[in-house]
C-alpha cells in the first residue's frame, strides 16, 4: 500500500525542532544556572499581579 508521507521528511522535521529547542535552551539563563555559570532560572514565570494569562496589566492600572 502506498505510504502517505516520506519518512525522511518526518525525521528531518523532528530533528530541526529538537535542534531549535536545544539552541534556545543552550542560550538561556536556566542552562547557565544549571552549568554553575550564574544566572537565574525562572521555573515559575507566573505573574500573580497580571490581569490576563499573557501578563497584561489591568485597565485600571494602565489608567493610573
Amino acid at each position: 500500500m502506498e505510504q502517505m508521507y516520506k519518512r525522511w521528511r518526518v525525521v528531518v522535521i523532528m530533528i530541526a525542532i529538537l535542534v531549535a529547542v536545544m539552541a534556545d535552551h543552550l542560550r538561556s539563563p536556566t542552562f547557565a544556572f544549571n552549568m554553575g555559570q550564574g544566572g537565574q532560572t525562572t521555573l515559575m514565570q507566573r505573574d500573580l499581579g497580571a490581569c490576563a494569562p499573557c501578563g497584561a496589566p489591568c485597565p485600571s492600572a494602565r489608567k493610573e
Binding site: M1, E2, Q3, M4, Y5, R7, V10, V11, M14, L18, V21, M22, D24, H25, S28, P29, T30, F31, N34, T41, T42, L43, M44, Q45, R46, D47, L48, G49, A50, C51, A52, P53, C54, G55, A56, P57, C58, P59, S60, R62
Partner: protein, 404 residues
C-alpha cells in the same frame, strides 16, 4: 503503510488493526528525549505538564474534538452533537476547576482577563479566522501533530499574527474596558457554578430546539462509537466518543491547574515562539511593551523548556502524532492537493487567529474553556463574540473553495 478508515473498521472484531509503527516509534522517541531533557534541565512538575499535554493531544485527536467544526456543523446543518460536547466539557470543567481556584488549593488562580473592546474585537477576529484556517488554537496544533500540511501553514501564520498582536495589544488595552469580572468573587464558587450551569442548560436547550427544527430529530451522539470494536481498541486507536474526549480534556485542565497553578493555555506560546524567531533574525523584541511585562519578559529571556504553554504544546503535538500513528492515519489530512484559494484561507485565517488571540487574551482553550472553567465573565464574552465572527467565517468559506 496506510489504510483508509473503511479498511480499519473492516478489521474483524478482536483483531488489532495495523498501526503505523514508524510514526508511533518516532513520537515515543521524541517524547522520551524531550521529557528527559525537561527532567534533567528543569523541574519534575514541567515533566508532568509535558505528559498532560501529550494526553490532551491524544484526546483531541482520537475524539476529533474540534471547536471549529462543532460550531460549523450546528450552524450549517443543525447537527448539535459537537457543540453539545463542548457545553458538557465547559460544565464539567467548571465543576472541577472553580472550587480549586477559588481557594480550594492554595497557590492556584483562575484564568481571568479584562472585559472590553480588545476582548470583543480579538475574539471576533479569532472566530472569523478559525473558520478559514480550519481549526482553533488546539485544533491547529493537534492537526499539525497528525501531519496535516495545510495546518502547518495555518500555524506558521498563527505565529506571525500573534507577533503582530503583541505589538498592537497595548494600543487596544487603552480602548474602553474594565478589570476582570470573576463570578465566584460575588456569588461564591457554588453560586458561580450554578449560574454557569443554568446558562449552559439554556444553550443546550436552544441547540436542541434548532437541531430538531432543521433535522426533525435531536441527535444523542455524545457516547456514539463503533460497537463492533472493543473498548480497549477504541481507546488505543480511536475514534473516541465525544464524551470520553471531553472528560479527558476537563480532567487534563484540572491537572494543569494543580501542577502549574493556572488553567491550560495554548496561544501565548505561539507569540513567544514568534518573538524568539524575530529576535533571532535581528529584531529587538525586548523593546516592545508586551515583552516588558513581567511574564513576557521572563519567558522571552529564558528557555522554552521552562515556559508552561510551550512545554504543554510540545507534549500536545507529540501526543497527537502518537494517536495518529496508532490510528494509522498520519498525514491522512494532506492527501488532496493544496489549491491556492485554500492556501490563501490558511494564511488569512492563521494570521487573524494569531492577532485575535492576543487581543482576545487567548483562543477557545485559553480564553473560552479556561475562562469559563474559572467562572470569569471574559470567557463568555469571548464565546459569544467568536461565535458571531465564526458565522461570518462560515459564509466566507465557499469563496475560498472550502466546503461547509
Amino acid at each position: 503503510m496506510t489504510v483508509s478508515t473503511a479498511q480499519v473498521t473492516a478489521e474483524p472484531a478482536g483483531k488489532f488493526p495495523k498501526i503505523d509503527r514508524f510514526i508511533v516509534s518516532v513520537s515515543l522517541l521524541g517524547m522520551a528525549l524531550l521529557a528527559s531533557l525537561i527532567w534533567l534541565e528543569t523541574a519534575p512538575f514541567l515533566v508532568g505538564l509535558f505528559f498532560v499535554g501529550a494526553l490532551l493531544g491524544i484526546a483531541l485527536y482520537h475524539g476529533a474534538f474540534g471547536f471549529t467544526a462543532g460550531w460549523r456543523n450546528w450552524v450549517v446543518s443543525g447537527n448539535g452533537t459537537g457543540l453539545r460536547a463542548q457545553l458538557f466539557l465547559l460544565g464539567l470543567a467548571c465543576l472541577l476547576i472553580v472550587p480549586v481556584v477559588s481557594g480550594g488549593i492554595e497557590g492556584t488562580a483562575g484564568t481571568i482577563a479584562p472585559v472590553g473592546v480588545s476582548l470583543v474585537v480579538g475574539s471576533f477576529l479569532f472566530g472569523f479566522g478559525m473558520q478559514l484556517g480550519g481549526g482553533c488554537g488546539s485544533g491547529t496544533l493537534f492537526t499539525v501533530g497528525a501531519g496535516n500540511l495545510r495546518m502547518v501553514l495555518t500555524l506558521v501564520f498563527f505565529i506571525f499574527g500573534s507577533v503582530i498582536g503583541t505589538l498592537h495589544l497595548p494600543f487596544w488595552l487603552d480602548a474602553p474596558g474594565t478589570d476582570p469580572i470573576q463570578l465566584a468573587a460575588s456569588l461564591g464558587p457554588w453560586g458561580a457554578i450554578a449560574l454557569q450551569w443554568a446558562v449552559l442548560a439554556g444553550l443546550w436547550w436552544l441547540i436542541g430546539r434548532r437541531e430538531k427544527r432543521m433535522t426533525g430529530k435531536t441527535s444523542h451522539g455524545l457516547l456514539e462509537r463503533d460497537r463492533s470494536v472493543s473498548v480497549v481498541r477504541t481507546l488505543l486507536t480511536g475514534r473516541w466518543p465525544f464524551l470520553w474526549a471531553a472528560v479527558v480534556l476537563a480532567v487534563g485542565n484540572l491537572l494543569t491547574v494543580i501542577l502549574s497553578g493556572t488553567p491550560w493555555g495554548v496561544t501565548f506560546a505561539f507569540a513567544l515562539w514568534g518573538a524568539k524567531i524575530a529576535q533571532f533574525i535581528g529584531f529587538d523584541m525586548t523593546q516592545v511593551e508586551f515583552w516588558t511585562w513581567d511574564y513576557g519578559a521572563l519567558a522571552l529571556r529564558d528557555s522554552l523548556l521552562v515556559n508552561v504553554p510551550s512545554v504543554m504544546n510540545f507534549g500536545l503535538l507529540l501526543g497527537a502524532m502518537l494517536a495518529a500513528g496508532m490510528a494509522n492515519k498520519y498525514n491522512a489530512g494532506s492527501q488532496n492537493p493544496l489549491v491556492w484559494r485554500s492556501v490563501l484561507a490558511a494564511v488569512i485565517g492563521g494570521s487573524l487567529m494569531g492577532y485575535g488571540a492576543r487581543l482576545g487574551f487567548g483562543c477557545n482553550i485559553g480564553a473560552m474553556f479556561s475562562g469559563i472553567a474559572s467562572a470569569s465573565v471574559h470567557g463568555w464574552i469571548w464565546f459569544a463574540s467568536a461565535f458571531v465572527g465564526s458565522l461570518l467565517g462560515i459564509k466566507a468559506r465557499p469563496h475560498f473553495g472550502l466546503g461547509n
